[in-house]
Amino acid sequence: MSVLVDADTRVLVQGITGHQGTVHTRQMQLFGTKVVAGATPGKGGATVEGVPVFDSVERAVRATSANASVIFVPAPFAKDALVEAVDAGIPLAVVVTEHIPFHDMLSMYHYARLRGARIIGPNCPGIAAPGKAKVGIIPNVVFHPGRVGVVSRSGTLTYEIVSGIKEHGLGQSTCIGLGGDPVVGTNFVDALSLFEEDPDTDVVVMVGEIGGTAEEEGADYIRAHFTKPVVAYVAGRSAPPGKRMGHAGAIIARGRGTAASKLAALEGAGAKVASFPYEIPGLVAERLQELTNR
């Protein structure tokens, strides 16, 4: 099993005819994902990487029974694309697009909730379950099937870490990139609760960063409900307050969102905290060994 996606996931690519859309359609296919449709207004009837393109999501869903969407459309149109997906009955939308105003994301989030759909992102690399499906842009090379769940607010840092896990001879059950924006559709608590229920995940790696209190809430959840070992890393110990560190959400504002606060919370909740990213694979291996020894 895996989380959120599996071998039956049928992916629609919104914005498939754009450069990013086309490149990642190919990459998702190479990962083994069933990419069944693309949608770009006015490009209905075209084909991208062998995938049929439709004018609207509704038509794409009707023709192909797509049940997940990955959204590459530019920020000013991303809200409309998400609403279109949700209205067409798509239950899972991965929003890769960066720079979506948070005011837009607030309505996107609550509208999706009203319609019973889940958003991953925005400004995220998406989800991948090795051997099953990838919905997003995480590089294929880093993966190897296994029993480690990974959830992260970062993109490349996650690739680095996942890659390290692979080089350590371990593999991943599912990797979820939550996205670097201040408002995301799925947060640590949501992701942890999914991993808690997943029989194929033994250990979870949690990669946080400065800004907001999602890691602290994750820590509360771990203490109260999470039964699997957690290895955590938080980026931004050296970041100054008041500066956006690359991600819209990575900012220490009014004394809140420091790495120190997050590290203390996670440690207090029993997570094993890595001081350096390259320590993570070893800490994961230790946790797995402990589980075997039990």
Binding site: H110, L157, P182, A235, M245
Partner: protein, 383 residues
């Protein structure tokens, strides 16, 4: 972040009919004098430095004047200041009002609730961080409803207002919500919000407009902010760039990886001086631009740490090589590179051909760049 100076924030307040003291901006002592002479600004008045940093009162950046001559003098004193690193270019002159109480109100985002949040406090006029938890009332606002009547009543009650003052707050909060929503604000804050007689007046204005919403708000394109000149250039080139107080520059791709690289540097005894996040790019020109920008920050050493996912290693390498020749002789710096992932082999080869070795491990790379920076290696081209 588009942080508006007080006077600019108050222009936005005026658009939404938020009550303000009478006042005007002056850019010279003479202008200040004539504003008072012409009664555009009534006396006694307050003269306030228009800077983005807080704590102006204690820092001497706010003065009082009873006459036009005093206003001129106060303006001269303030315009000469440098306040927390910011040069003061404008002052705001405003009538001095008989203040009964000072309150606090703000609207911002609650990331955990995924809702805007209204915050009010009866203890205005001080840094809100210094107000104890119980002194600040937080009211989440649902975007599908807007700031509801009952929520405004909650705020009125928390601030202990009644009668005309309560009505005045109710109207003001409706205005503030519309402003927050329609202007795509990250923060709207009035501190202090003064009770003057039985109505409310916004003595200060702090408005931050969301950068990502700028496509809907061309009107804020000209707003000066508290970015450094290099950060300003980076912003125009769409490169995430933050200047820090150390001497080692980091170029990486992705915010998390760049932050983690800075952290490892610092934990290994280095002093990060520049955060440069290339983002996901497959344009070698952007890499070249980023590299030249880094050179302008005059680092002692630079660490390039790339994990190629969307970005291809060969693209980065090509951009880098193109840039290296363009850095003026005197501005060159030692470079440590680590590029992995997508097209790693090609990228490594391109760098090697240009004389740059790509290391494998993060630890060894960091140790090398820290050593180079600490050694004060000769600034004569990439190491």
């Amino acid at each position: 972040m588009v942080k508006l100076a007080e006077w600019r924030g108050k222009e936005v307040f005026r658009k939404y009919a938020v009550p303000l003291p009478r006042g005007a901006v002056a850019r010279s002592p003479a202008e200040a004098r004539s504003l008072v002479d012409s009664a555009a600004v009534p006396t006694p008045c307050v003269v306030k430095a228009q800077v983005l940093a807080g704590g102006r009162g204690k820092g001497g950046a706010v003065r009082f004047a009873d006459t036009a001559a005093q206003a001129e003098e106060a303006t001269r004193a303030i315009l000469g200041m440098e306040f927390k690193g910011e040069k003061v270019k404008e002052v705001l002159l405003e009538e001095k009002l008989p203040i009964a109480r000072e309150l606090y109100v703000s609207l911002t985002l609650d990331r955990s609730l995924r809702l805007p949040i209204l915050m009010v406090s009866a203890q205005g006029g001080v840094e809100i961080e210094s107000v104890a938890e119980g002194g600040l009332v937080k009211i989440p606002v649902h975007p599908f409803i807007g700031l509801a009547g009952y929520e405004r009543r909650q705020a009125v009650s928390a601030l202990g207002l009644s009668g005309a003052a309560a009505k005045s707050l109710d109207r003001l909060l409706s205005s503030l919500w519309r402003l927050f929503d329609e202007e795509d604000a990250e923060l709207v804050e009035i501190n202090p919000l003064a009770v003057v007689g039985d109505s409310l007046v916004a003595l200060d204005a702090k408005v931050i407009i969301e950068d990502d919403a700028s496509f809907r708000h061309p009107e804020y394109a000209e707003v000066r902010d508290d970015r450094t000149p290099l950060e300003e250039i980076a912003r125009e080139k769409d490169i995430a760039f933050v200047q820090l107080d150390g001497n080692i520059g980091v170029i990486a791709n992705g915010a998390g990886l760049t932050m983690a690289t800075l952290d490892v540097l610092q934990q290994s005894g280095g002093r990060p001086g520049v955060f440069l996040d290339l983002g996901g790019t497959d344009d070698p020109k952007k890499v070249t631009e980023a590299f030249l920008l880094m050179a302008m920050a005059k680092p002692k050493a630079v660490f390039l740490n790339i994990f190629g996912g969307v970005t291809r290693c060969d693209t980065v390498a090509n951009g880098l090589v193109a840039a290296m020749s363009q850095v003026p002789e005197g501005e060159r710096f030692p470079l440590v590179a680590r590029i992995r992932g997508n097209n790693e082999a090609e990228g490594t080869q391109i760098l090697e051909r240009a004389g740059v070795a790509s290391l494998k491990g993060l630890k060894e790379s960091v140790e090398k760049v820290v050593a180079l920076a600490n050694a004060g290696a000769p600034l004569a081209g990439p190491a």
